[in-house]
Symmetry: C2
Subunit: 208 residues, 2 copies
Amino acid sequence: MQRIAVFASGRGSNFRSLLEAERSGGCPGHIVLLLGDKAGAGAVAYARGQGIETFVVPSKKTKGRLSLEEESAFRDACLAAKIDWICLAGFMRILRGPLLEAFQGRIVNIHPALLPAFPGLDAQKQAFDYGAKLTGCTVHLVDAGVDTGPIVVQRSVEVLENDTVATLADRILEAEHAIYPEALRRLLGEKWERRGRRIVFQPRKDKP
Amino acid sequence: MQRIAVFASGRGSNFRSLLEAERSGGCPGHIVLLLGDKAGAGAVAYARGQGIETFVVPSKKTKGRLSLEEESAFRDACLAAKIDWICLAGFMRILRGPLLEAFQGRIVNIHPALLPAFPGLDAQKQAFDYGAKLTGCTVHLVDAGVDTGPIVVQRSVEVLENDTVATLADRILEAEHAIYPEALRRLLGEKWERRGRRIVFQPRKDKP
């Protein structure tokens, strides 16, 4: 069973959706560690309540790159816990080096837009203000850029005429909760390969 | 009845889908003129066969901006035909001035990607090579940029594991044939307004 660490800065709704998927048999891995940069984050409290180990490197910054020291501390915690896959789930900080090197190709992120459209912060508001009629969410492998890595799964969400940024973001979040477990299931449970920057899954055979 | 001109450089499959929509009552306008930059284009021959007036300004260029003289000739033809709306339908040349000024806010284009992702040429291949799992097509109003104008309608198309650029482009084209008439129907037949760069349609009331 592959061991998964989840990074979260906020309330941790994607973390919960991954946990629920694991418990209902919908994720072929085991979430063993929750890491964060805010001791008071809802995700940390939720992990503790669920008996999942937590590791926090407190930071006053709420966005931007991790310092080398912070990222090295996270890396060491993941190495000590023998982590196979890292899921960024509303982790607001940008990785720069140590984690990317130690877990190359095994770090996954979820982004609330159909990348490569609307990368970076406030993606839902970016899409709304642009006047997109479709937006959505993307699970992708993390590379050294911001939201630039190879795409695993995407799902579209329609922008409705009476939407606000908040109502749109709510529906995108629902879609995130569906595709993050789906992406992990595919990455960990199916055969796939990289072709250039494409991730190509082997066509699924129908079960007899 | 609002008078529509269609611009096409190629075989004109989107032109045909607009014509078919008009004839089946699915477009609240009347296509009266087909304009192009290639005398031998399939779209021109089709228009003639259907008894629709054509206007061609032959050019050896296959892409890039129109010259001022070329664009002025197209503008004058549209003005003479008392055109209300212009639909670019696989017209490979970029407008720069005279048409945009004369028909400001009344020129529509269709693009084979979910803008703002993958603007410009070969959008289907761009999306395929990027490894997008969802792409699609966009109908938008034309402004002075390349594929940057306000969005009217978008539809998503899934990239399948066994797709090639050609099979993907075929499915996107099918979606184009559905949304271009839909976009015209909404623009010409519904109430809408601009808010910033958003096009917001008035919510449709259920018919009694």
